[in-house]
Amino acid sequence: MTEPTIYELSSPGRVGVRYPQPDVPLAELPQDLVRKDLPLPELSELNVIRHFMHLSHLNYSIDSGFYPLGSCTMKYNPKINEEMARLPGFAYTHPLQPIETVQGNLALMYELQEYLKEITGFDAVTLQPAAGAQGEFTGVMIIRAYHKSRGDTKRTKILVPDSAHGTNPATSAMSGYEVVHIPSDSRGNVDIEALRTTCDDTVAGLMLTNPNTLGLFEEQVVEVNRIVHEAGGLVYGDGANLNALLGIARPADLGFDIMHINLHKTFSTPHGGGGPGSGPVAVKGAFKEFLPGPIVEVLEEGDEELPPVFGFYQPTQSIGRVKAFHGHFGMMVRAYTYISVHGADGLRKVSEYAVLNANYLLARMRGTYKVPYDRICKHEFVVEGVWDDAPGVHALDVAKRLMDYNFHPPTNYFPLIVREALMIEPTETETKQTLDRFADVMLKIAEEAHQQPELLREAPHSTPIGRLDEVKAAKELVLCCWLPEQVKN
């Protein structure tokens, strides 16, 4: 069943929400500026509720099932987080209120900064970046500002391993750097020799994801970081995979200089069908003054009687703002709640079980699916979704076929260094029963691939809609709908 658009549901003159009549004398409107037409749909409240309920039923979600999307950390989003973010005391505060009226917000932000520092080992944190990609941008701009501040202008390159997220090279480019790719070795690590030969005084830094996008811990991470540092470069850590490291290792200890943290992955804030995210950036002390400001700090220490007074601090050599106001405060409330209920032991357990679940699935699938870099993985792993003796079946087909079994597909065709990659991240919040059901289905699909390949090629069979014509979408480019009366014109 396709659901009509809100434009198709519109009826001219229908009103969904009433507003009061003006209780003040009317002012004259500047007629030459007033808009003549406003081609928006007109629905009742019930129209709207039903429409979006119908749409919601067309979505797969964590709340409805297993979502093993590699690199996305689709863990359970606890309901208490949602309640806390909606507390009127938080939700109804204006970002420009005098600080004495929002000490609750500032206390929460300050504590969150402190927690993130402790978890990652860094010395300073900005909560401002809106998402991971913006965290990366912030980080690379700090690298740039740092070198510039030292008059070191010859550094024009950022090194990016070939297993990196697409955001890494994109970020480097938009920050004005040339991107140099570093290959991986046969164990899935950064190729140390290649790195060594590339590192010179034109290298501003390295963007490294650890565990990398193969789900593997960089076994030489300390050495990798040492090599970059020796060449005068900095190491940026892509925090997308932090869910494997809570209480396991602190990135700062491993030699990273700067890192972003995805609150919407590791710290359970919901993905919202594409956002909002939140991408705080943590740095070692040397880079603190380059952070975008303002940052929350203690203005007056508290004592036994009085709580501390919090305020804002403006870093002296800041790269500048990366967004308005203070970042995604609502996401901070959720992440703070999440960290608070876990504590140190709980967070370690998160990573332990995330890694346990990934290795368990890997163990169950190994033998049926080819594992290109086969060793103990961290929170995710990558297999090939293709078999030499099942020609014509691709990773995409495996992915689509999973939908018929009520599972969301894994990430596919990433990382690029694996042929027909299927990247599987189960997260720690899934039960063994769910993992077993998924593994059983994956094995069954492998069997189907060999015996009834058309089942895969034409999958999904059970979704509200079949595979969509993406070429047509890009070619005809219908990007919005219009009211019937607009279309007539």
């Binding site: 658009t5 809100i6 229908r14 969904g16 009061p20 003006p22 500047p30 500026l33 808009r35 081609p39 928006l40 749909p41 629905l43 709207v48 429409h51 979505n59 005391g89 109804y92 000490q103 978890i119 809106a130 990609a133 990366e136 941008f137 955001t167 090279p169 994109a170 004005g176 396991i248 993905h271 919202g272 069908g273 594409g274 956002g275 909002p276 995210g277 975008p292 308005a324 970042g327 995604h328 405060f329 609502g330 703070y336 876990h342 504590g343 332990e352 890694v355 346990l356 169950r364 103990i376 919040t429 999904p460 809609i465 079949g466 595979r467 969509l468 480019l477 990007l479 919005c480 709908c481």
Partner: protein, 449 residues
């Protein structure tokens, strides 16, 4: 905690993996850094954390406790209950980016509808699926213009009456490129008009950025200005308050190439500044240069209508360093909120809210203008925000107002050295006439004291 394994399940799983313990899964981590002891507070149960956060939240004074006249980029509007009822549906908020369209039509169609509403509201041909906020959307306008001219035009002219934080972000983004100049926003001439910008627009100008209503609340017809900008071959980006567009001519109608801005007024709670919603819409010619996600309509094999992410070839996960932007996450759930809000209010409701803001703001401005020591420029058309010249420092006046239960306006001296003692006041449908009178009484008392 949300890890469900029982001890016996854990042991079974370890056995299948073939390792003796969970610790042995981490032998690839350098031993000296392995298993650090994190110094975090003891874990709280849900019951305890709820109490703790209720306590923290209760320390704040809110726009429900105070009468709010603060705006400056974030506005206190009423959000109908139906908006959050939909946002709370797990199917929406716990879904990921709709990369798998067969199981994501809910998100995809909602974004498609969002794009439609924004395109209609701004008078543009197409909207993207949203940016982080108004500031980054404005910066992305500059990025688009940079790429449109392939870096060959290096001047970006920005009005001083563009939100100061947006200008700051635009500058940060432009810092990634060499040899660009961002000019025009000399804050010593805060009230410069768009006409004052024209002399700066030369054949090397990639983009001109103005705000509408501007940071001071003023509304001005940009049609002739747009012509002039186009005569110089530059693009025109207009930073909008989408709610104002229910009442005033759209940027599309006036000839703008890009409409960007902050979508928070469309049903998104203040939430201390975020998450909000970056609006970005443009004309046909620039659609393929626009950053961020796009949803397009198409069909499946059986001809059923469906929606997919489209033009993904522009994006980082395909183009990597050749992508026009590193954007990955958007503000999907906030775009959904705005979609539901606009659907609920519709044509009539949105216009009505805009008019309420307009009339109440004008009434307030007139009343304040009559208070000795306070002055408002009532000549230039404005929407729901206006500048009040005060007899004293804004900080002091605001302290006085706060003591009277009023959240006063924004201190323009923060951003404009020439606007010490100037306050920016916002009035919305949430302010009753009684609220306005309480404000005026307080200002009168202040001016007597």
């Amino acid at each position: 905690m949300y890890t469900p394994h029982t001890d016996s399940e854990r042991e079974e799983m370890l056995k299948v993996i073939g390792v003796p313990s969970i610790e042995s899964l981490f032998e690839d981590v350098p031993a000296e850094y392995r298993f650090p002891r994190l110094n975090l507070p003891e874990p709280l149960t849900e019951m305890e954390v709820a109490a703790q956060l209720q306590e923290l939240a209760s320390i704040n004074e809110t726009t429900r406790d105070l009468i709010c006249f603060l705006g400056a980029g974030a506005y206190n509007h009423y959000v109908p209950a139906a908006v959050d009822a939909i946002l709370r549906r797990g199917e929406f908020y716990t879904a990921y980016t709709p990369y798998q369209p067969e199981v994501s039509q809910g998100t995809l169609q909602a974004i498609f509808e969002y794009q439609s509403l924004i395109a209609n509201l701004t008078g543009m041909d197409a909207s993207n699926a949203s940016h982080y906020d108004g500031a980054t959307a404005t910066a992305e306008a500059a990025v688009l213009a940079y790429h449109h001219f392939r870096g060959k035009r290096t001047r970006f002219v920005v009005s001083p009456s563009v939100n100061p934080q947006y200008r700051a972000v635009l500058r940060t983004y432009m810092n990634g490129y060499e040899n660009l100049e961002v000019i025009g926003d000399d804050t010593n001439h805060p009230f410069a008009t768009v006409e004052d910008l024209l002399p700066l627009v030369d054949p090397n100008t990639a983009l001109v950025v103005v705000q509408y209503p501007d940071f001071f609340g003023r509304v001005q017809d940009l049609t002739r200005f747009a012509q002039k900008v186009h005569e110089a071959g530059a693009l025109l980006a207009v930073v909008v308050n989408p709610l104002a567009l229910a009442l005033f001519k759209s940027p599309g109608e006036m000839g703008a190439d890009i409409a960007c801005g902050e979508g928070q007024p469309l049903g998104i709670p203040l939430s201390y500044g975020g998450p909000y919603l970056g609006i970005f819409a443009t004309k046909k010619d620039y659609v393929r240069k626009m950053a961020g996600r796009l949803v397009g309509e198409t069909t499946d094999k059986e001809g059923r209508r469906g929606y997919v992410l489209t033009l993904t070839a522009r994006e980082q996960h395909i183009r990597r360093e050749k992508a026009t932007s590193n954007i990955c996450t958007n503000q999907g759930l906030m775009a959904l909120a705005a979609t539901v809000y606009m659907s609920l209010l519709g044509k009539t409701g949105l216009r009505q809210v805009a008019e309420l803001c307009y009339h109440k703001a004008h009434y307030t401005a007139q009343q304040i203008n009559q208070i000795p020591g306070f002055e408002v420029d009532l000549k230039a058309p404005f929407f729901h925000e206006f500048v009040v010249k005060c007899p004293d420092s804004v900080e002091e006046i605001n302290e006085y107002l706060l003591d009277n239960g009023i959240l006063g306006g924004y201190d323009l001296g923060n951003d404009y050295p020439h606007l010490k003692n100037h306050m920016l006041l916002a009035v919305t449908e949430m302010n009753t006439r009684e609220d306005i009178e309480i404000l005026c009484e307080a200002l009168k008392e202040y001016s007597h004291d």
